[in-house]
């Protein structure tokens, strides 16, 4: 990969990278489209990164479909798929980790110890191998976006971090590779998450500025879904992920499936 990247760069060609864990959906493909518009070369990495999963998380059963992914990316006209084997990424003796403080600590950082260290480490490796001018991440993983931006600034990586809007199903559910885990009843209940966010956004648009009131609106909406166990619903600053702020972030379990979503209440509501 590095050889190819250096050849492209020495030929003066710009490179866009879309890092993914595969099991691609329309959210990923919208990032590929954005990369296509801004770069001469588009690379998509597919790597289900074991070190960003906790011991009791879903690494083993995370959906994988490399053949379908390859077809979709072929149709999207990407120049290269970077799909390193785990043994090449973490060979015996590998012992280096990249840790982001501050923004990586609350919320997802607290709920998933080691998660963002795994993300920061693999992103640093992918950037080193692909040498992108720009990299594309989905707003659905809002805290990951903030962590990667911090990482790029702190390590002088010189990569432009581009953020694609969350792509949603018609009922508002944010696209996620993990949605395949949901049974039909859970899938219906999951719509309560985005519905709660939209209720808060409507209240904000109508002038409500009390953060505790806005947060309560979200919590009340989710309390109406017996299949949904709220883990957190907070209003934070989108860069630091500390309160107060206008970014509403949610993590919840729907059955056994953990889902996250977010919406910046200060921006016009989508749809």
């Amino acid at each position: 990969m590095l050889e190819a990247s250096r050849r492209w760069r020495s030929a003066g060609r710009s490179i866009g990278l879309v890092p993914t864990m595969g099991a691609l959906h329309a959210g990923h493909l919208s990032l590929v489209d954005a990369a296509r518009r801004e770069n001469e070369i588009v690379v998509v990495s597919i790597f289900v990164n074991p070190i960003q999963f906790g011991p009791n998380e879903d690494f083993e059963r995370y959906p994988r479909d490399p053949e379908r992914d390859a077809v979709l990316l072929g149709e999207a006209g990407v120049d290269a798929i970077y799909e390193p084997p785990i043994a090449a990424m973490y060979p015996p003796g590998a012992s280096t980790r990249v840790r982001v403080g501050g923004v990586a600590e609350p919320l997802e950082g607290k709920a998933r110890p080691g998660h963002f260290e795994g993300v920061a480490t693999v992103v640093t490796k992918l950037f080193a191998a692909v040498q992108p001018d720009r990299a594309y991440f989905g707003q659905k993983d809002a805290q990951q976006v903030a962590v990667v931006k911090r990482l790029v600034r702190d390590l002088d990586l010189g990569v432009g971090v581009r953020v694609g809007e969350t792509v949603r199903e018609p009922d508002g559910v944010a696209l996620s590779s993990r949605n395949v885990y949901l049974d039909p009843a859970e899938r219906r209940a999951a719509a309560g998450i985005s519905a709660g966010l939209l209720q808060a956004a409507s209240a904000y648009a109508a002038g409500e500025r009390r953060l505790d009131v806005l947060r309560e609106l979200i919590r009340a909406r989710l309390a109406a879904e017996p299949l949904v166990q709220l883990e957190y619903a907070e209003l934070v600053d989108p860069d630091t992920f500390s309160a107060p702020g206008t970014l509403a972030v949610i993590a919840a379990r729907v059955g056994k499936t953990r889902l996250i979503d977010n919406l910046d209440l200060s921006k016009p509501a989508p749809g």
Copy 2:
């Protein structure tokens, strides 16, 4: 710096980096010569990296002489000096650290908590900014060499790590910017460190293979110097820094000055 590096790379020119903390001596200049022979562009970084010093270490008084350094590097024909201000390297909010496990833990890692995390972080940043094909480090800091090699492999940095032999004074003392701290009596006593290493190397050359005997030779030689307080003398593997091995490593205080040195007993003794 990154803009200049990308311009060089897109023109197909190879880049060699010599990372230093300034206060240059003949050891640094031998690395610059090596870089000159192997690369079209030579960059020397000068940065006294605060985060690799402990709270009770010598960051404040570490010798600095940027004007003399610039003259020496001009004479050596380097293409660029990269001398970032501290506030640019660690601006408010910076919170990312690179941590190497394993090889960074014993000996210097134990004696100087946080030291190698500071080294790994700044080296990652310097490599990102300078984009070198090769980087040059001195064997005097043997564990640092092993940590940087591990870092480069683990993060896929694609930089060739080149190691220059330790340059010594006529009496054997390894060149170090910290030697200026020594008063004349301490300077004489410091020669006991390399003398101990050479005694062990002679014994090894004569067939002695018992590591405890070789280690005792070093310790006895240093016990003969009242101004020298030995911190450790061990025989380790040069890649993992765990025992057993043929790399003799020493840390000692000479008066208030902490010095390190090393010699691979399995290689023909210098001189």
